[in-house]
């Protein structure tokens, strides 16, 4: 008897839980960037990567220094940033407004959702000539293009977010005889906020894409114009300098939204 007990193997139960929950890890994102740049630098220096296929990162860095010292950097960045700010703010706020109306009123939903679905897949850049006719060749048409491009995805994500608000909370509000306005402002809007913010991440990235497209089609200054000039001369260093500026804009936008998520959505478990 005791033999058979001894013969039984003892071992710890294998761990198979964990994972599937995003945790905040610092520095990993940055080190991916740094490694990539170092590899490129080493590759282009050693000749393993030809200078024609990829610019040397340090050369791109020098291009930045030139841009800075000549004052051209701000000359290109400032108009772009202001176009992005005006266009995206207009588009996103209109989009959130219309999205909420669609979420709240069945008639507006019935009327607008097909329309939104119809214009969503249209590449907005194709409409730039139309905007130029409507608003003129100057800034307004660029604002309009960016605003329009931000508007549709924001509408879709916003009414989705409103639809997803926990109905039992709304029922609770009604059971305490809260006014319609109170239910909307104190239950529906805060409840839709997570969805609205994550939708904005997508819409604002689209806004940056459209900003460049609009500037490529007609602007003297702006990152899009700068990239276009560089591209037509096959000046890869300047092209990449422009691309880096765009990426920085993208990261900044994402960080701003992340900040708001932290501030506004701390209640999420």
């Amino acid at each position: 008897m005791s033999d058979s007990v001894q013969a039984k193997q003892t071992k710890p139960v294998a761990f198979r839980g964990g994972g599937f929950s995003p945790i905040h890890i610092k520095w990993v994102g940055l080190s991916v960037f740094v490694t990539l740049i170092l590899v490129l630098e080493a590759g282009t220096r050693s000749g393993f990567i030809s200078n024609l296929t990829m610019p040397r990162p340090s050369d791109v860095g020098w291009t930045f220094v030139e841009l800075w010292t000549s004052g051209l950097l701000w000359k290109h960045v400032l108009p772009s940033v202001s176009r992005l700010l005006v266009g995206a703010t207009l588009g996103a706020s209109l989009g959130i407004g219309v999205g909420i109306l669609i979420g709240l009123f069945s008639y507006i939903r019935a009327g607008l959702v097909p329309l939104i679905s119809a214009i969503f897949p249209v590449p907005k850049i194709a409409l730039l000539p139309l905007f130029v006719i409507w608003f003129g060749i100057d800034e307004t048409s660029k604002y309009a293009l960016i605003a329009f491009g931000t508007f549709t995805p924001t509408v879709v994500s916003t009414f989705g977010a409103v639809d997803n608000v926990d109905r039992s909370l709304i029922r609770m509000g009604q059971s305490f005889s809260l006014s319609w306005f109170s239910i909307v402002t104190k239950i529906v809007l805060p409840g839709a906020m997570p969805g609205i913010l994550s939708g904005l991440r997508v819409s604002l990235a689209i806004a940056i894409i459209l900003l460049v497209a609009a500037e490529m089609l007609g602007a003297e200054y702006g990152i899009g114009a700068y990239i276009l000039q560089a591209g037509s001369l096959y000046d890869l260093e300047r092209l990449f300098a422009g691309v880096v500026i765009l990426s920085v804009m993208g990261v900044t936008v994402s960080a701003v939204i992340g900040f708001f998520e932290k501030r506004l959505l701390g209640w999420r478990s």
Binding site: L169, F176, L178, S182, K186, W267
Partner: protein, 255 residues
């Protein structure tokens, strides 16, 4: 304020959920309603509270609610229904703001109801920081804040473990003994029903009808865990329910 249900019937599409219900809910009494799952207990409560309209019949309010009652028919939900983005205090002030009660006056009410539910230290906590039992106590204090004439409670303890449930039941008993309120209390737990109810309304399987109304006369304060006569009533109720549940099972097989 009394409530009277006259010939209440309700259908969702083709499915008849309840029919021909007549019931009196006298002021100051606690009416518990038990019945097999899906017999329409929650629906009945929503009909009484005006969150849904009955297909036939009507719910009548007899007499005026007390003047100090801000929200005469007040729900306590099974899933607590707390706003996760508001603190405990904020969740209670939510239901006061619409009545123009703010500032000091609101503070006083909030302090009072939190003291009554023993939550004073948790005033600034967010729902995610609270246990299930505490969340339900917050929901109960929110309901108390509007001075309900009738509390409509839909399985308020069902999401909780049995120890927490027992403790919270004691809390409900002491709340009621200190300041009696009228209540309709839906549960599938017969033990809760005999512990808390003046009357126990036994509903039949779907379509729900009133099968029997059982009165429990023993005063609330004297009812205790494991009382012989309460056990007796509970057993009697269980036999009624079992017939319904068995019959419901058979119907499913025959379909």
């Amino acid at each position: 304020m009394d409530l009277r249900l006259e010939n209440i019937g309700h259908s969702y599409g083709d499915m008849e959920v309840m029919q021909g219900m007549d019931l009196e809910i006298p002021a100051g009494k606690r009416v518990c309603s038990v019945g097999p799952s899906g017999c329409g207990k929650s629906t009945l409560l929503r009909l009484i509270g005006g969150l849904e309209q009955p297909t036939t019949g009507r719910v009548l309010q007899i007499g005026e609610p007390p003047a100090e009652s801000l929200n005469p028919l007040t729900f306590v939900f099974q899933d607590f229904a707390l706003l996760p983005w508001r603190t405990v205090e904020g969740n209670i002030s939510l239901v006061l703001e619409d009545h123009g009660i703010r500032g000091k006056q609101a503070d006083a009410i909030i302090s009072d109801v939190l003291a009554r539910t023993k939550l004073t230290e948790f005033r600034k906590a967010l729902p995610k920081q609270l246990s299930g039992g505490m969340k339900q106590r917050v929901a109960i204090s929110r309901a108390l804040a509007v001075n309900p004439a009738v509390m409509l409670m839909d399985e308020p303890l069902s999401a909780l473990d049995s120890q927490t449930r027992e403790l919270l039941m004691d809390d409900l008993v002491s709340l009621w003994t200190r300041e009696p309120f009228t209540a309709v209390y839906v549960t599938h737990n017969l033990h809760e029903a005999v512990r808390l109810g003046h009357f126990i309304v036994v509903l039949s399987r779907r379509p729900g009808r009133i099968r029997e109304v059982v009165a429990v006369d023993k005063p609330l304060a004297e009812r205790e865990l494991g009382d012989a006569d309460l056990e007796q009533t509970q057993k009697y109720l269980w036999n009624l329910m079992r017939e319904e549940a068995l019959a419901a099972d058979k119907e499913l097989i025959n379909v």
